[in-house]
């Protein structure tokens, strides 16, 4: 029963990710006074891409062909770990937050390898930029995560959420800093403004798009879908770790329904904030990104320090 629920939850996660992307696009269009496409447009795009024949360039090796599947599979596995509607599912019990970071790293590694595999200039440039950004973002994310685990005394996500739920509303300085750091990292890792612009194909500024420039057909569909799931993953992480209220703690139908409604509401609000910040800020120069991620790291370190200085009993 619990396993069935875990599989259903993962399917829901994977299925709802394009919807979130569509919602963000819609809000952003409204903010920029444009006519918005339907929120289901990402599904149509994915379907259209899936029906098309994928074409591999001549110098491509097996890495290029395997990468979309590995990227997609690792992202889906990551989605299985993160509690969406209910805590205490068997999938979240077998893996903790460090495994989650590992899945992200696995997917990213293959995407970067695939970008360099075909030997075009853009692929290599995008790959090197992606690696630069992720090497700076990963310590900040781990530091933010460790701040959380020091408060909750566990690296397991659903136990940490249970801990936050049990202690009730506590104003922790460390959580405020970790939240700030994690939001900055999430923006950098999912390639949103101000680090990368997901809506452009302008050669000099793109990072994610440069790596997947040679993909087409269902391979492109898988990669696009994976990046939408990744965006939702970060959204769910932020929403459920720092504001877990409403998540189902048992498996009765009413609590599950309530949990689903609450997470939808939280994600909608987060998407609103993201779209608003994207409408307000301009993209940074690539050489400013290290300052931005340095600030994220500083926030995470301050979170850990304030946990030790201000929150522990002695």
């Amino acid at each position: 029963m619990a396993w069935l629920l875990a599989i259903l939850e993962t399917l829901l996660f994977v299925g709802a990710a394009p919807l979130l992307a569509g919602w963000i696009k819609r809000v952003k269009c409204r903010l920029q006074n444009r006519k918005a496409p339907s929120v289901f447009q990402p599904y149509r795009d994915l379907l259209k891409l899936y029906r098309k024949q994928p074409i591999a360039p001549h110098p491509a090796s097996w890495i290029f062909r395997a990468a979309p599947y590995i990227v997609f599979a690792s992202t889906v596995l990551a989605a299985a770990i993160v509690p969406l509607v209910a805590v205490d599912l068997p999938t979240s019990r077998i893996a903790d937050i460090i495994v989650l970071v590992g899945f992200f790293a696995l997917g990213r590694t293959f995407q970067v390898l695939a970008g360099m595999d075909i030997g075009t200039a853009f692929g290599g440039m995008g790959s090197s930029r992606e690696m630069t950004i992720s090497s700076l973002a990963e310590p900040a994310m781990l530091m933010a995560v460790f701040t959380l685990t020091m408060s909750a005394h566990t690296t397991n996500l659903s136990q940490a959420m249970n801990y936050v739920l049990d202690t009730g509303l506590v104003l922790r300085p460390s959580f405020v800093f970790a939240l700030g750091g994690l939001i900055l990292v999430a923006i950098a890792e999912t390639g949103r403004i101000p680090v990368d612009n997901p809506a452009t194909h302008l050669e000099l500024t793109m990072i994610h798009e440069a790596m997947i420039l040679e993909y087409s057909g269902r391979w492109l569909a898988l990669i696009e879908w994976a990046s939408q799931i990744k965006l939702m993953l970060y959204g769910v992480l932020i929403a459920n770790i720092f504001f877990p209220w409403g998540i189902a703690q048992d498996f009765s139908l009413t609590t599950l329904g309530y949990g689903m409604a609450m997470i939808a509401l939280k994600l909608a609000v987060l998407a609103l904030v993201l779209a608003l910040s994207e409408a307000l800020f301009a993209k940074m120069r690539i050489f400013r990104v290290q300052e931005y991620l340095g600030f994220a790291y500083l926030l995470s370190v301050l979170g850990m320090l304030s946990h030790i200085i201000l929150e522990t009993a002695r």
């Binding site: 104003l171 300085p173 460390s174 340095g294 500083l298 301050l302 320090l305 200085i309 009993a313």
Partner: protein, 225 residues
């Protein structure tokens, strides 16, 4: 005492302490003078809020007066005075470059750890709940000094000096329920007078070396001729 056992007000004081430390770090990394002064004003407002909360928690009405005073002086009057000076001297577009921003930030974090280590014995012998914040206030003092060391613009030095005073004031609030009213009034007006005197000094420095960059103070004027 662990944070979950405190009341929400006490937690809020600790949260504000964390945010005050954050503003110190933001000042350390900010190279534009106008924004530097704005962050300083923000720090003053946070300080006033923390003081007012402490007054509520500890039931010390005279702390409300200090809160109002620090809001008026550090949150409004001195920042406005400094902003005006910056605009009058035409410094609002000047970038005060920081040589090694990453290294400065790391030094700042090290200072926080150091002040935690130093204040540990003090905190251990007390039962006061807000005393955990004393390490933060010491860190704010040291970060203000670091700000003064790493900058070349005289205005940034003044902001660093004022933020040292913020740290001392915060230490007084969290450790001993604030200083006696006479001392507090005296310090507040000292700071105000200092801001005015610094303003006069800026004009003096500029008229003698044609710049507010204190690096040029080490040059002999005869050497140019």
């Amino acid at each position: 005492m662990a944070i979950a056992e405190l009341t929400l007000y006490q937690q809020a004081i600790l949260l504000l302490a964390g945010l005050i430390a954050l503003t110190s770090f933001l000042m350390l990394g900010q190279s534009r003078l106008v924004r530097l002064v704005s962050i300083f004003a923000l720090q003053g407002c946070l300080l006033a809020a923390a003081t007012a909360l402490a007054a509520t928690v500890l039931d010390y009405p005279h702390l409300y007066v200090s809160a109002a005073l620090s809001f008026l002086l550090k949150g409004a009057v001195i920042p406005i005075l400094l902003q005006r000076l910056i605009h009058r001297m035409g410094l609002h577009r000047v970038m005060d470059t920081i040589d090694h921003p990453a290294r400065v930030m790391m030094a700042g974090s090290a200072l926080v750890v150091f002040s935690y280590y130093v204040s540990l014995p003090v905190v251990r012998h007390s039962t006061l709940v807000t005393l955990n914040a004393i390490a933060v206030s010491l860190a704010v003092v040291l970060l203000g000094m670091l700000l003064m060391i790493t900058r070349r613009q005289a205005v940034a030095h003044v902001v660093g000096f004022m933020s040292i005073e913020n740290g001392l004031f915060f230490a007084a609030v969290v450790a001993t329920y604030g200083m006696p009213m006479v001392v507090e009034l005296g310090v507040a007006f000292d700071v105000l007078v200092a801001a005015v005197v610094f303003g006069v000094f800026f004009f003096q420095i500029r008229s003698s070396i044609d710049s507010l960059n204190v690096d040029q103070l080490s040059k002999l004027s005869e050497a140019d001729q």
